[in-house]
Symmetry: C3
Subunit: 139 residues, 3 copies
């Protein structure tokens, strides 16, 4: 049994989804763990994680549009807008999706389904560097 | 300390929730782990997991209706509809609920609250077989 | 490698968010684990967990208001209202946020980002005692 934690950064260029499956797989491979779990954790409150359909980009286009409608910028009741119209909306979109995901590892690989990819969901308009911690535990 | 991963399938018959608490408990029992965690992971992007009130079925009836209203089929802005009107909506309902849940294990049992059950939340109209991976780690 | 599970209770006084970061940090410190993960799990279906901006209280005021609008009390289609107008809405708000979060541990501390705090999100109007289980696994 072993436990290790690594982190990596990705650059985002405005609202949208950015796949990180390969980066997480690399951490799992480096760990040498064959059976266990990988926890992916995003260290931010204005970006989140989703495990989403990664075969057809139109699925993610709908995701982006759905969240713009569910959590539109400019609602008059928002008060947390010191950093702009995408400030409070970023936190709200984050809390509706995920900060952590834990994925089983079998035979040294993430046990993802055929169409599942891991994505950072960026909610801010400006470019950012996002830090993701990955903990692997198992044997 | 030990780690093990098992998976099982359940048959779903259209939109709704299907309890899997007993199946997850069985994996925990088989593992022999007394203290640790169980991670439940659904390997699909058009079905999800929820931990929900399991005593009164009316609670889940409201859940089903709420999600139909929050993510209705047939919105004109959807483009990911190759597999039907429940295609993109399935992914959107999935991403608003959960793909993984991690549950503490104490005294060899899931540390669920009195009213908590684990459910597969099926978002497609057609019948499906859904695969759920369960990883148990502990001692 | 070791695994331990502890639980604690907090008192809530109506709808809102209640920070528990210090309580979770204390469980991690007591465990002696330097590298691993902490799973935080709330044993209820009418309260949930969120990892949210903890620097500026206005961010949480917007969170509370957003959820009141997204899941308003008194919708005529609700049937699960035996315990009042905040009965089914509590479950719906819970399922849109989180029951479990798993957070990497590095150098004996939770690897939270600068602005991330862990909160219980209470969805009931009345005061409650809420039980949170924390499992720590690592070395």
């Amino acid at each position: 049994m072993k436990a290790c934690t690594e982190s990596f950064e990705i650059a985002t260029r405005g609202k949208g989804t950015y796949e990180i499956t390969a980066e997480v797989e690399r951490v799992v491979r480096n760990s040498g763990v064959k059976t266990g779990v990988a926890t992916v954790f995003i260290q931010h409150t204005s970006a989140s994680l989703v495990i989403y359909e990664n075969a057809d980009a139109s699925a993610r286009a709908d995701l982006h549009r759905f969240f713009e409608r569910l959590v539109p910028e400019g609602e008059e009741y928002y008060i947390h807008t010191a950093e702009g119209g995408d400030d409070t909306t970023s936190h709200l979109k984050m809390v509706l999706t995920r900060t952590s995901e834990t994925i089983p590892i079998g035979q040294g690989r993430l046990a993802l389904g055929t169409w599942q990819g891991i994505f950072v969901f960026e909610h801010r308009n400006a470019s950012h560097r996002r830090s993701i911690a990955v903990s692997v535990i198992g044997e």
